[in-house]
Subunit: 206 residues, 2 copies
């Protein structure tokens, strides 16, 4: 998230899915070993940010995302030329991913352990299916903003890792919008300041 | 500023100048020795937040604020019952304060070294007058949001101390609005994480 609250810049499109300036929010993560490993790349920087990303990914058994993060705008799916997500043949998840959407579609098995499942009956059924698929591990909520807002407002978020980048985007997609005036049972439990990003972790109050 | 970018809550009024929930943004500062000393109160907590507020106030020779921070809504000034600011007879500034406003008014000398001057010809003349009055010391830009945005967008801000409180207000007055998509020559130079507030300092790039 930028200092002014955006997780993507304005004018998002198929060619520019993060919007104008949005890629600046991700600059800190791209050199890290943990990010590179998830994308089947060797090497990379090992610093406190890397440790945080490793922690964040350590115990994930399933991921939930919204239709916009999966992509394939404007849908419904084109059966002749099926969209397979923004990622290439081997997406960086390596576990079942549940896409909350209004458009039915058969499960899509990719290389490297990622299978996309399309859930059309809402955020709670998606959470139930993801929990079963995770087999005791954690369920990650990847994004985008709208699905994150829905789960947060419904009180389903137990932990929130927020990476704040000290830049202004001016316009774009806000992370916190229509989520009310409270933290839905969470509080700040850890802050790790780096030069180019500040890592905030929110957790449940004991 | 709240996590979602507000420096005041919604529904600001004379009775509730910080808006609904806005006082929660200030809870961390009220117990500090530096805040209490500026308000002629003894004692108070001495921690890293206190050091930061002492630093922030150390070399200030003049303060600029907007009409809303001075108050006296809806103006023009009522000469029979003149508004003297939100503060009591001895405001916490203890140096000249320049209020940028459309309404002319004679300077107002308070107890304890604070004199309010009313500047009607814009932000640059106010800055010039404040610089002269500061006699080599720094000029502080106190707020509110709109005047801060104007000075920031005009490139007149050399240092920005931002105190981020990890709560959501949902609605209210945003700090960063209409200030563009860049930091106007500044970058993050220091982060001090506390449990109830994260202190961010932005400064000029070298």
């Amino acid at each position: 998230m930028s200092l002014d609250g955006f997780i993507a810049g304005p004018d998002q499109s198929v060619k520019n899915p993060l919007g104008v300036g949005g890629e600046n929010l991700h600059e800190w993560v791209l050199p890290l070993r943990a990010w590179r490993a998830a994308h089947n790349l060797e090497g990379g920087e090992v610093n406190e940010s890397n440790t945080i990303i490793e922690e964040q990914n350590a115990n994930i058994g399933a991921t939930i995302m919204g239709r916009h993060m999966f992509g394939g705008h404007p849908g419904p799916w084109d059966s002749n030329n099926p969209w397979k997500g923004w990622w290439k043949n081997n997406p960086p998840f390596h576990h079942p991913v549940f896409v909350v959407t209004h458009h039915e579609r058969e499960a899509l098995e990719m290389e490297g352990g990622t299978t996309f499942h399309f859930v059309t009956d809402g955020i709670e059924p998606a959470l139930e299916q993801a929990r079963r698929a995770a087999k005791g591990k954690d369920v990650a909520l990847a994004g985008g903003a709208r699905i994150a807002q829905q789960y947060l407002a419904a009180g389903h978020v137990d932990q929130m890792d927020l990476h704040m980048v000290p830049i202004l985007l001016g316009r774009g997609e806000r992370l916190f919008s229509d989520v009310g005036d409270n933290m839905h049972g969470m509080q700040l439990v850890r802050t790790v300041p780096m030069r180019d990003v500040i890592h905030l972790r929110f957790g449940r109050q004991k």
